[in-house]
Symmetry: C2
């Protein structure tokens, strides 16, 4: 027993506060203010409400907890350690050090119990909204009378910064629209951001704003008052709308000189102020990382209680499995992330067709074929479904009161959409997709990047992928986007050349169980290549990222390479070169990232090092192609913005033509001979 005279609750809350402050102090880096200010509300939430099992962080029906304000990571690490997750105290002492499980911001995959990677503000609360959507959807699909297999809350702690970010506004508006009653957000209303008080830039009425979104709102005037926090969460649980609870707190609570100021936000308190804070709150100055026995005992009750929660659920699930064996097996399969057997057995193939079709159209066909066999495929578009062709036929709309629908309507909210599909993937049980025009991938980039960091299987279906969209003009024509997306580690950008490569694109994307995939699809028609007669190689080559599409059997004079809609131009150029007695190999490169992962000998077989004359053509910034064309080659791309006109005119005027490829090919052949 410690000889500190404070209530058990106080003891526990101060334990969180000082574990956090000590962690930051030892690292000499980090954010003590949020953990110290929000410790009480977090304690109440975790010990009074959160249904989780610290010894099994993957229990499917656990409540989800998201620390949207990821900079307060020590709050989460403290809670995880104290409640018995596999996160030893030594890890807390290694906060922000190489190889530790306690990085500066929480990272899923790295730390047991961390549900999502947060830090970039606004993302966590949006992820949480996605989790709540997945929960509501799966509940409809799997629950049966007497069996609430899927039935949990999603809780968030969000900060001023989270609320200021537009992505949170987008997602919160949709959450209100969808009436996600099991989503409960605690807003750490501490009046402080990095530059000073929120009076500097954030004087809007936050509660009214969330009310306008359709949320249930409450104000807790003292976030350190456990009864108030308790009553608010209880009331929120009974609501059929998402809940927003503004808890007035004091950043850096307890630090006598820094509390309530920006100084407490993002740097260690310093040894003196830390000591002052400990004195102030009746805490022993030494040792650091001190955990009173009673506090630990109290926190660790979560292990037993959690085991009980899960065992009750397991018992229920066992009965459910007897009564609904297929559903139970399906639930387990879906939560495991494994695709159903034979999911890609009956995909369509597309007959040769010189007129062809837009790859967005073929993609819609393939998606629908897959959707029949893969019920976990759900998603939607940011108000562009008629154009992105991403509706699942007979899938129904996912709406308030109809959460079983598979077609989501995200509104004109690309960023919110992408953060929400991340949350859905994190929840598990669904493979989500989000669709918009490629140009608007820019609106979503922070979430796309996080999908990659978190190794989420989400599909970003981006259509209208070049100047080929035509009349909408430069504000809608992506130029730099393919290169910019290819630069993101871990992400695959797939830009299929024709309908049959589209099939392979889908195959590739779904098989990437732990990584996101971007589809880049055309608005305009592209020919469906005739792959049966030996003229063009089978589309299965696309599985290796890049492959020889057309060849002559001889060592080529030049290699033409391309992706997507420009492959047809390369093919035509190859034919024109042949007529001139020049042998050209045509390489289709739908996915550079996958090609780069192939063994060197495969890559050399596609792009023989000896064949230096190479021309790449793509209706976008050339940047990502230099690696593949090398010194002897050239890239025909775009280093300017597009233009508003019918698309064939734009291709012509901007020099993306077979003629230009032929000319450039002759140049590079000549140039290499002169070397």
């Amino acid at each position: 027993m410690s000889n500190i005279s404070q209530s058990l609750d106080e003891l526990c809350i101060n334990t969180i506060r000082f574990l956090s402050a000590d962690g930051v102090q030892k690292a000499n880096s980090g954010h003590p203010g949020l953990p110290m200010g929000a410790a009480a509300m977090a304690y109440k939430l975790w010990m009074g409400f959160l249904r989780h099992n610290p010894r099994n962080p993957t229990w499917p029906n656990r409540d989800r907890f998201v620390l949207s304000a990821g900079h307060g990571s020590m709050l989460l690490y403290s809670l995880l350690h104290l409640t018995g997750y596999d996160l030893p105290l030594e890890e807390l002492m290694q906060f922000r050090q190489w190889g530790s499980k306690t990085p500066g911001h929480p990272e899923r995959h790295l730390t047991p119990g961390v549900e999502t990677t947060t830090g970039p503000l606004g993302q966590g609360i949006s992820n949480a909204i996605g989790m709540a959507i997945a929960e509501a959807h799966l509940a409809v699909y799997f629950n049966r009378p007497g069996y609430n297999i899927v039935d949990h809350y999603t809780y968030v702690i969000a900060s001023d910064g989270d609320l200021m970010e537009g992505v949170a506004s987008e997602a919160a508006s949709l959450a209100g629209h969808l009436r996600l009653g099991k989503l409960i957000a605690l807003y750490d209303d501490n009046n402080i951001s990095i530059e000073g008080t929120t009076q500097l830039a954030f004087t809007e009425d936050r509660v009214m704003r969330f009310e306008a979104y359709g949320w249930h709102t409450q104000v807790v005037p003292d976030g350190n008052n456990l009864d108030m926090v308790d009553a608010a969460i209880r009331s929120a649980q009974g609501e059929s709308r998402p809940s927003f609870i503004a808890c007035r707190t004091t950043i850096g609570y307890g630090a006598p000189h820094k509390q309530g100021t920006a100084e407490a936000h993002g740097e260690p308190l310093g040894p003196d102020e830390l000591a002052n804070a400990k004195r102030n709150l009746g805490w022993p100055l030494d040792p650091p990382f001190f955990i009173p026995g009673e506090a630990l005992e109290n926190f660790r009750s979560a292990v037993e209680v959690g085991a009980l929660y899960e065992s009750q659920w397991q018992k229920q699930f066992g009965e459910y499995a007897r009564e609904y064996p297929d559903l139970a097996a399906e639930f387990q399969r879906r939560m495991s992330g494994k695709l159903p057997e034979g999911w890609d057995a009956d995909l369509p193939t597309f007959p040769p067709d010189p007129k062809g079709q837009a790859t967005r159209v073929s993609s819609g066909v393939v998606q629908n074929a897959i959707a029949k066999k893969v019920p976990e495929l759900i998603g939607g578009s940011a108000d562009l479904a008629p154009s992105t062709r991403t509706l699942i036929k007979d899938g129904g709309d996912l709406q308030a009161g109809n959460y079983g629908g598979r077609n989501m309507h995200f509104g004109v909210r690309e960023h919110g959409m992408s953060a929400i599909v991340n949350g859905m993937a994190l929840h598990g049980g669904v493979i989500p997709y989000g669709a918009t025009f490629l140009i608007f991938s820019d609106y979503s980039r922070p979430a796309i990047r996080l999908a990659s960091i978190m190794e989420n299987r989400v599909l970003f279906i981006f259509t209208h992928d070049s100047i080929g969209l035509g009349e909408d003009g430069p504000t809608h024509q992506p130029i730099e986007h393919l290169s910019a997306l290819r630069a993101i580690p871990g992400l695959a950008v797939v830009r299929p050349a024709d309908a049959n490569e589209v099939i392979e694109a889908w195959r590739l994307a779904l098989a990437r169980e732990h990584a996101p995939t971007v589809f880049a699809l055309t608005r305009q028609n592209v020919p469906t290549l005739d792959r049966a007669n030996g003229k063009f190689a089978p589309a299965s080559g696309a599985r290796r990222g890049g492959y020889v599409l057309a060849d002559t059997g001889k060592t080529p004079d030049v290699i033409l390479m391309s992706s997507g809609s420009e492959v047809a131009i390369a093919v035509e150029a190859g034919e024109r070169l042949k007529a001139k007695g020049i042998t050209a190999r045509v390489v289709s490169m739908p996915c550079m990232e996958v090609f780069a992962e192939q063994p060197q000998d495969y890559r050399d077989s596609v792009l023989p090092p000896k064949v230096q004359p190479r021309v790449a053509i793509e209706a976008g910034a050339p940047m990502s192609w230099y690696r593949w064309v090398g010194d002897g080659g050239a890239v025909i791309g775009l280093e300017r913005f597009g233009a508003s006109a019918p698309y064939k005119t734009i291709y012509e005027k901007l020099g993306l033509t077979a003629e230009a490829v032929v000319k450039k090919a002759e140049e590079v052949i000549g140039g290499n001979k002169r070397k």
Copy 2:
């Protein structure tokens, strides 16, 4: 006189409707719905309120009008043509055609009277907020008793999509905070978006939301009722807060089968429905692009009235110039975009210092030196000013009631910030900057891209530009961002290697009168190179984007090239190679885009084609370097996300070291010999 029996107002409104619908029909592409639905409110605004001079679209004190819903471009083109701008009817007939002045979405620079390039939703209204900020700021600076030289409104028409986008939420919240009383937004509340009715995804209470932001709000139950619109705008003009006027309208008004439906939104009505609409509203079926004489006469009164507005202002300005000649000259200079003479005469230089300083710190010093001479430099940070070092000393805070301040507090709203600085630049009279961490450039990309399309001189000051930020970890460490930004046409990304290159970065950025510049600056210290003793070349070389920093006089065995904080690593590697008897040239490449613009002979002098062994090192995705290292070279970069740890550890663990450069240099030298 036409023999159509309708009031002059109706005639004028229907003229707008059918010019727009005919334009879309002729192009067989575009958005007729918004112009037909919003024609009445736009007519009232333009003919009843807008103070502009069609014959001088650059009159500095004109009211600004922003069509945030840029897809309704034909509305704007119709108004511009009708009120007498230099936009002939033939141009309207060439809607969405190559070379016309009527592209799919309005483009500033291309079409007289278009204040900003819109289309990507949410941007226009945010630009307008920036314009209103610039107006308020300049008014304080320039106005004197009796002389309101700067005194105009900024009007916006915004759509459902604009309101759904997070960027608009961010900017609108700040607008409310700043109490921008001369900003008036008309919300085209038509209940329809592309996928169907707003019931699908957008059921929040928009009016309450804007009230929560601190705006004055009104509802016009019938947007076709000119008296109602008139009264609302009048009331808005008298308000000291920004005004939000929700005007209930019918998309595609007049088209009997399509009005009020998503079908009217984004495609031509079709010849039959267009004819039906004309019949329905008592309009002659032929000719298309019909403009009744009375309507034209009425609209064209704007020419005379506009000339009067401007001449009154010019008269006032003349008197002002006599009383305040210096101020008047300064006003003209600032509105012209020309920098003051000698603005860069007294920039500091930094003495050699092996310990050095972070380039964000040097940048703060240089910025403040420039700010003294360039009063139009104003801006701020997205709640990171203490870290980005972008405060202007003694500049004061720009806040409600203190619009003369030069330091803006954007809150945690990177996207809103970037769209707002675009609007400020478009207004003219200021050179705005926005600052945050490089990682959060992702949040701003759509606005950064638009800065480049619009050729805006804005400065994006991005610090913490690599894994060098250390403990905050992978969510905060940019990897792909340098390449991704370099891929944007027209944008310059400057990543200075030391304090003296920072000076050149600022010089380069301000001199780019018609283009935006990104600064990439370190959190961590970098040595200030000793450029006086001949060991290192003068930093002025940075003006050419890339230059030989250190050389041996002999043909080098290998070229080491780098940018920013990794230049010091390249320098150290060069020295280690020298000790091994290998001559290395070190090239500093702070700005690839500017280097790429240099004449070939200069580029060849820096990177002699004969010297194939090359090693580039940058703490980021290698993509953008392949072009410069060529087949014989190699890139040491990062193709993974970073990690949370002290930065020196991360550099070491991820192999960004002089030792690794030496090893790679020896490899490429060997590899090239074997060729």
